[in-house]
Subunit: 334 residues, 2 copies
DNA sequence: GAATGGAAATGAAAGCATTTATGGACAAAG
DNA sequence: CTTTGTCCATAAATGCTTTCATTTCCATTC
């Protein structure tokens, strides 16, 4: 069943059928009804590919992330997909991994598919070395690129992120003023936001004249046992800390498990602050104090901006949200 | 830059360019090279929409799930996307929610997009009442439908799932023979697999002549605190149990938190078994004993089957995997 | 060495199902 | 009688795939 069949059966031209389909003006109510009834009768649906060819769009957005099973990224994708669907767009999901090469490939895949926009979810898409970010600029030549949790100043690239630096700085500051001075920073990534968080911690410590303590976990993202092990080793080597700021909730959870293993009481003997305020924050006993980085709001803003760009070809280039410290059981009154 | 431009610059017909592009035989090495060099020189990429129109496919699979941020579903999506991409397919993600109406809409959306296949991820897509599953049969009229963790006997519908019934039955049996007789079953869903799990528990209890104890949690999927609360209330009402089988890891985690809240020692005074063997199993202290339902293998088999269907129009209709009980800290030696 | 057959290489043209620009017909308004 | 505006049809454009017919080339055969 094509538009030709419908036009024939309705006794009009295909152009008129198309106009009815697309709600254009200049078609009398009478013919509109006639066409609609024929369409309904034969359950006609326009061919999406032909439509794509004619309109040069299939209203599709490419969502790219390193690993869509990551708790935080999965949540972001969930929000984005919903919001984009509400705006009449489909989402093509593409997991790129962490290698620059595979990322370039994934991006090409999306561009070849002629998506209307690309969303890069996760701060790890921005490399420190400016030249490595060229792959993003190349993509932006063809289609708007939205960065969630990363920032890059370039034409046709839009950045939406949370002020990780200030969030961590303030959280660290509050822990310090609550009387805890030996605070360990536990992190596992040197991504764009990873760096921001770390310097937030470092500067807060410095501002109070305290000696920073950092521990880097190089294992995989999900290896909670490995994280716990590493903290236990730290303990064996005699390192003492009564506060711990983690770069994400998983690391924070590992800290709680570490404490439980050794019988260290949380929060009495060890205060822990996580990051992301994800479901993991509810998993531990006591529950995690964690920094909420407003993921849903970030996504909504990203979607809105993308829609603006797609319609007016103009949108707010960069937006920064501020995070919230959500107090729960792993910290004493701050 | 179109195929016409290339054909002109290479001094061949567009048909030849197309043949080169699609790796058809019957084109001399000499012309192939000439065409390829022109393509390279002008960085030509075929227009995906025109291609879709000609081939009547854009090599796209629709992945549908209720909520892609769900830990378990997100993992499934991750595996599927990777595997499909390896086979040269793109994925359109569509979260349908849990309502029949919105599901029907989402399915229509995917069908209109002319995807080559649809994957329904999650056992909640199968309704008990046969007539409610018609929406799946309708879709299967147009495109193959793959069910991950659900089963439905129908033309063009393929089911891949884990034997949840036996997994839970055996796990319960092992807990019983280890000497624990008062076992609570904690669940939150009556989906297809939810039912299977429950009857696995019930039958195991019955087989040993024991009185079953069931507790249903009606809150949202992620409300761990609510789950914990509910168990605490149960305790207040005087219900005693020394074993707990949970329908998923989140419920199991809530059980561990419940025990920690009351100072009940796990596993000495309470044994807990979760389901899914997800990352959550690593989150608690002690870590969760959990049933692994072979998600990656399920996904791989699903992808393979779908590829078979898409090429030969023939694939294995139904496959059932068996689960593994992964022993960790929340159970004593079983 | 010419004739023949068959396979390989190529081109022309017909789809594929839309959108959209152009312009014609007709009615109402001036 | 001309202008304006509404409604609609014709036809072009979109960029590819694929069938079918034609040409070219090479190996046989006599």
């Amino acid at each position: 069943m094509t538009i030709y069949d419908i036009s024939e059966k309705a006794g009009v031209s295909i152009a008129t059928v198309s106009r009815v389909l697309n709600g254009s003006a200049n078609v009398s109510e009478e013919t509109r009804q006639r066409v609609l009834s024929v369409i309904e009768k034969y359950e006609y649906t326009p061919n999406a590919f032909a439509r794509g060819l004619g309109l040069n769009t299939m209203r599709t957005i490419g969502i790219m992330c390193a690993d869509s099973s990551d708790l935080y990224l999965a949540k972001a994708i969930y929000y984005l997909e919903q919001q984009l669907r509400e705006n009449g767009y489909h989402c093509i999901l593409c997991c790129s991994g962490y290698e620059l090469n595979t990322r370039r490939e994934s991006l090409d895949l999306l561009l070849q598919q002629k998506v209307d926009g690309i969303i890069l979810v996760g701060s790890n898409y921005i490399y420190e070395q400016e030249s490595q970010n060229k792959y993003i600029l190349d993509a932006a030549l063809t289609t708007p690129v939205m960065l969630l949790n990363g920032a890059l100043e370039a034409p046709n690239v839009y950045s939406i992120l949370c002020d990780d630096y200030t969030s961590v700085q303030e959280a660290t500051g509050r822990m310090i003023t609550s009387g805890i001075h030996d605070i360990l920073y536990f992190y596992n990534s040197n991504s764009y936001s990873g760096k921001k968080k770390r310097s937030g911690y470092l500067n807060a410590m410095k501002a109070h004249g305290l000696e920073p303590m950092q521990e880097y976990f190089s294992g995989t993202h999900e290896d909670i046992s490995g994280m716990t092990e590493q903290l236990l080793k730290l303990h064996q080597r005699g390192q003492v800390f009564h506060g711990l700021i983690a770069a994400d909730d998983m690391l924070a959870l590992a800290a709680v498990k570490y404490a439980q293993t050794l019988g260290i009481r949380v929060p009495d003997e060890l205060s822990v602050i996580g990051y992301n305020n994800s479901i993991l924050a509810q998993c531990s006993y006591p529950e995690l104090t964690s920094i909420d980085n407003k993921l849903e709001a970030l996504c909504q803003h990203l979607t809105d901006t993308l829609m603006d760009v797609l319609t007016d070809n103009y949108g707010i280039k960069n937006t920064m949200f501020s995070g919230d410290l959500i107090l729960r059981g792993t910290t004493k009154a701050l």
